[in-house]
């Protein structure tokens, strides 16, 4: 399989994963207002971060650029640089919707809704610009393929050199900092022919020598037209742990190239290497372990993802098996009486096995009702905002399992019931207060087993329908006779 084909396969995983990430972001954002613990904002941030990284890796630059803004905003919220406001949460929720569409369009290779993307991007940029933060300006993330182009552009600015003299003076801790100079020399060798003279002046007497320390430094002459960024790359993991000096040799570079250039950071070359090295104390107090509460994930533990068709196939096959088994049982009634007992025994065992197999296969298609319930926090959030009502949504029995096909069928009717409850059942905060009720209404979605059935309840603590008013309307339209009395 070629790389491209394989990458396309992996991209599919990325799309699926992004959808899950967006679901996690959405449900996280919906709980942010209520319980603002550090871990939930971290979870949201990580989801955005993964989508950004993945989309950039798989070459979906527009998704990556858009997510970058979202991620920056979340990062500021996470680090408490920016407050978590209802408006910002609303914008982020819309960004989730937009990203969902972008992912779907990208997967289907359809054009993106540029207008919507630009407008939301504007909203995010506006929030980010509301108070000066360090110039984190939306640096678009270039797709992986373009990552090196900057390097070659910078190289041409150096003019041509026919080689470099490099002074490489590592701190004695180099090895303990897990950097192996021989590997760096191997890397240099890939760039061109070089000679390295070891400077042994720092080498102590044998009895004072610590085998884990690096006492050597090197003067390196490397030949060839090597762009400076290539050299930087070789040393970029260690440049804070050594004194480095790069001097072009041979043909002089134009402009500033006349005198030796000491880099990468001027400070590194100017001050003794040791002062630049990280003091151990600082290493001690680097970030506290972010081991936090284990993620609660409804129904995620130990689950597998199976295509529905495959499961349907198995269920059909098991059905066939059951039929064959019962046919054999019937057939057994009319054969040689001597073998009959053993045959019957075998058949009853087959019957038991088949039944058990069917039961466990049916079980595969069972999903927790949370799959249907999970969309409601967002629906209730949006709708209550629109209606200016305050609603707390309670989900009960989310792990109650239902057949996937049933689950899909009840989802839309449930939405209808919930909308009704919000529209007509629950009152506005003022009316609730006037009626002596708490300002925030409660809407409960519950699922439970009862006598072999699964009961799904939608319950609210609102005023309900105004019976007198409805009856009056019905009489006005002559739907109900004026003297007719109706039961509830």
């Amino acid at each position: 399989m070629t790389i491209d084909l394989e990458m396309a396969e992996i991209a599919k995983v990325f799309f699926q994963e992004s959808r899950e990430g967006l679901d996690a972001m959405e449900s996280g954002l919906l709980t942010l207002g209520a319980t603002a613990d550090g871990e939930s904002i971290n979870t949201i941030f990580r989801a955005a971060h993964s989508i950004k990284g993945g989309s950039a890796t798989f070459g979906f630059a527009e998704v990556a650029t858009f997510t970058h803004g979202v991620e920056t905003l979340l990062d500021e919220m996470r680090n408490k640089v920016r407050p978590i406001t209802a408006e910002a949460v609303q914008t982020l929720l819309q960004a989730c919707d937009c990203l969902r569409e972008m992912i779907a369009a990208t997967e289907a290779e359809q054009p993106l809704d540029q207008g919507r993307i630009a407008s939301l991007n504007g909203d995010i940029t506006q929030i980010l610009g509301e108070r000066p933060t360090e110039a984190h300006a939306a640096a678009p993330v270039a797709p992986a393929a373009a990552a090196n182009s900057a390097g070659s552009a910078a190289a041409s600015a150096d003019g041509g050199t026919s080689g470099w003299r490099v002074i490489f003076e590592p701190v004695v801790d180099l090895l303990r900092l897990r950097n192996e100079p021989t590997r760096m020399f191997a890397e240099l060798g890939r760039l061109g022919d070089f000679t390295a003279h070891a400077d042994v002046s720092r080498l102590p007497a044998l009895d004072a020598l610590d085998p884990e320390s690096c006492y050597l430094s090197w003067n390196i002459e490397i030949a060839g037209e090597i762009p400076r960024p290539k050299l930087d790359e070789v040393f970029d993991w260690v440049d804070s742990h050594c004194r480095l000096e790069f001097t072009p040799t041979g043909r002089a570079a134009p402009a500033a190239g006349a005198q030796p250039v000491a880099q990468p950071s001027a400070a590194t070359a100017a001050t003794p290497a040791e002062s630049k090295a990280v003091p151990p104390a600082e290493a001690e107090r680097s970030p506290a372990p972010a081991v936090a509460a284990v993620q609660k994930s409804a129904g995620e533990s130990g689950s597998i993802r199976v295509a529905t068709e495959k499961v349907d196939d198995i269920i059909n096959l098991v059905g066939e098996l059951l039929i064959t088994q019962s046919m054999l049982s019937g057939f057994a009634d009319g054969i040689d009486p001597n073998d009959l007992d053993r045959l019957r025994q075998g058949l009853s065992q087959l019957a038991r096995n088949t039944r058990e197999l069917q039961e466990s296969v049916m079980q595969i298609r069972m999903l927790p009702i949370s799959f249907a319930f999970n969309r409601f926090p967002r629906i209730v959030h949006d709708l209550s905002r629109k209606l200016d009502k305050k609603v707390e949504l309670k989900l009960v029995g989310e792990n109650t399992e239902l057949d996937k096909t049933v689950l899909e069928k009840i989802s839309d009717p449930l939405v209808h019931l919930v909308r009704n409850a919000l529209d007509h059942g629950l009152e506005t905060p003022e009316r609730r207060l006037a009626a002596g009720k708490p300002e925030t209404g409660t809407l409960e979605l519950a699922a439970f087993h009862e006598g072999g059935n699964i009961i799904i309840e939608v319950r609210d603590d609102g005023g309900g329908l105004n019976k007198a008013k409805i009856l009056q309307k019905a009489r006005e339209r002559s739907l109900v006779a004026p003297d007719q009395e109706l039961t509830d």
Partner: protein, 120 residues
Amino acid sequence: MAKKILAVDDSASMRQMVLFTLKGAGYEVVQACDGVEALELARKSAVDLVLTDVHMPRMDGITLVRELRALVNYKLVPMLILTTESSQEKKMDGKRAGATGWIVKPFNPPQLLATVARVI
């Protein structure tokens, strides 16, 4: 014997991409989806290189590197963190924790292989 690499990332697609790239180049790869799982795996068997993402649930990549460095078997094992361009700070955090170096995201398979070849 094939060099063994421990790849740690909470994103399944990134893990697959890393796995596919490294296996294709003849490395043996073990995977973990967060720092806690990686630490457990690393305690059980030795690896020649650790590649870890930074942002992960339960235990992040920086903490993982620091925890691994505290194990006697991992004192000298190269460890690379996968990080994004913007996070100079993370690179330095990584170095302080004991990482050998980093790979800047996004990267493509050849870039990943070139970086891995620098350390093992």
